[in-house]
Amino acid sequence: MLEIFSKGFYASLLFLLSAGLALGTAHSEERKKDLVQRGQYLFAIAGGCACHTIPDGTPHVGGRAFPIPFGTMYATNITADNETGLGSWSDKEIRNAMTAGIRPNGERLLPVMPYEAYSGMAEEDLEALIAYLRTLKPVRKETPRLKTWIPFLRPVSTPIWLKLFGRFSSSAFKAPASGVDRGRYLVEHVALCVDCHTPRDFLGVPNRSLYLAGAKNGPLGEDVTNITPDKETGIGDWSRNDIAELLLTGIKPDLDNVQGLMAEVIEAGFKNMQREDALAIADYLKSIRPIGNKIK
């Protein structure tokens, strides 16, 4: 039966299959390159994940201490190191940690890691971000263990806290492309302004009635500004360009510079935000409810 086909036929078939494979591979490589590039940009909007870097230290290797009401926790190594970082984790495992707070071994992450917020990140953004994380140069560095006086904080207290106070979001495939919707998406699920600028009680529960209204003794003990459009205590007298400029340069309308954690996230990532995204965030911030809450 096979004899009816000439050698030329098989040669052509082989050539077509090879060409198809090559084109497919090239396309796949191209897609992966685009994905990583997009992921790098999202990483920047996420503030370069600065929490995972000790200031002036090696980027992304974790170890940064975060005092919490019940002890001290340490940000993890998110480089591609196989033993101490994410190198041996599958994409699904990274996604699960980032959006549900569960490690491959089933261990719970404390909600200091903003997985509730990331649960609302668009599917395609999450895919891109994970692709980029995999390109972070592997650096071996063990993360110190959680120090706490509460027994079973991870396996027992954390699920209870999440049940009572957790706020997970559903995730669309694609993020909003522009405007106030995109601004809201970035503020809530990527840049995570809510995480620092909304005050929390002693249990770490965000007070949504003071949404983005600033916090005394916020993360790492810093005072965090009120970024609602309240004219007296917030940024109500800032223009959208003023807000965008701050995100991109760290400079306020009076030419003063931000310091502390905000300066870190700008330097680690926000400064590489596209102006359109900075303006989208600005437009969202100018659209929310003004709340009087004096911090400084």
């Binding site: 810093e222 005072d223 400079i251 309308p253 009076d254 030419l255 003063d256 510079n257 310091q259 502390g260």
Partner: protein
């Protein structure tokens, strides 16, 4: 014996009086320099607004105001004036010469901005406003704490 007690009481009273006057003096200088900085903030904000409006007269006026206030900065930071609500870091006095130079840098940046505004060159004004902001940051980063002392 009664005389000794009286003398001790006088000594303690005088010491307390002396310490309290020093504390009040420090509180006073801290308040004055915070007022100076707020004034500089207001001038800088006016400059930023005037850039958008291309109001070069205001830019020149406010830049000259900053030149004047920058010359007063060092006088408002007497050695060890940290007792009170202040963001001044100890490095100011550890690196006093460097700190003084930062104030001079601010004056220079303000002076160049005033000149650019006087010339009416919009592009030059933009460059000099950025330089002015960099001069502010150049001092704030090493010498200003994130939080007030005692918080």
């Amino acid at each position: 014996m009664g005389q000794h007690k009286f003398l001790w009481a006088c000594l303690i009273g005088l010491s307390a009086f002396f310490v309290s006057t020093q504390l009040f003096a420090q509180a006073d200088v801290i308040e004055k320099r915070q007022k100076l900085m707020k004034g500089q903030s207001a001038a800088a904000k006016a400059i930023k607004g005037a850039v958008e409006a291309k109001d070069y007269t205001t830019i020149e006026t406010k830049a000259k105001e900053l030149m004047g206030s920058s010359e007063k900065i060092s006088d408002h930071f007497p050695k060890g004036s940290t007792a009170g609500k202040t963001k001044a870091k100890a490095e100011i006095w550890d690196k006093w010469d460097d700190y003084g130079q930062k104030a001079k840098n601010l004056r220079k940046a303000a002076s160049e901005l005033a000149d650019a505004a006087k010339s009416g060159d919009g592009a030059a004004v933009d460059v000099k406003v950025k330089a002015l902001s960099a001069a502010c940051k150049g001092c704030h980063e090493p010498f200003r704490a994130e939080k007030y002392s005692g918080e």
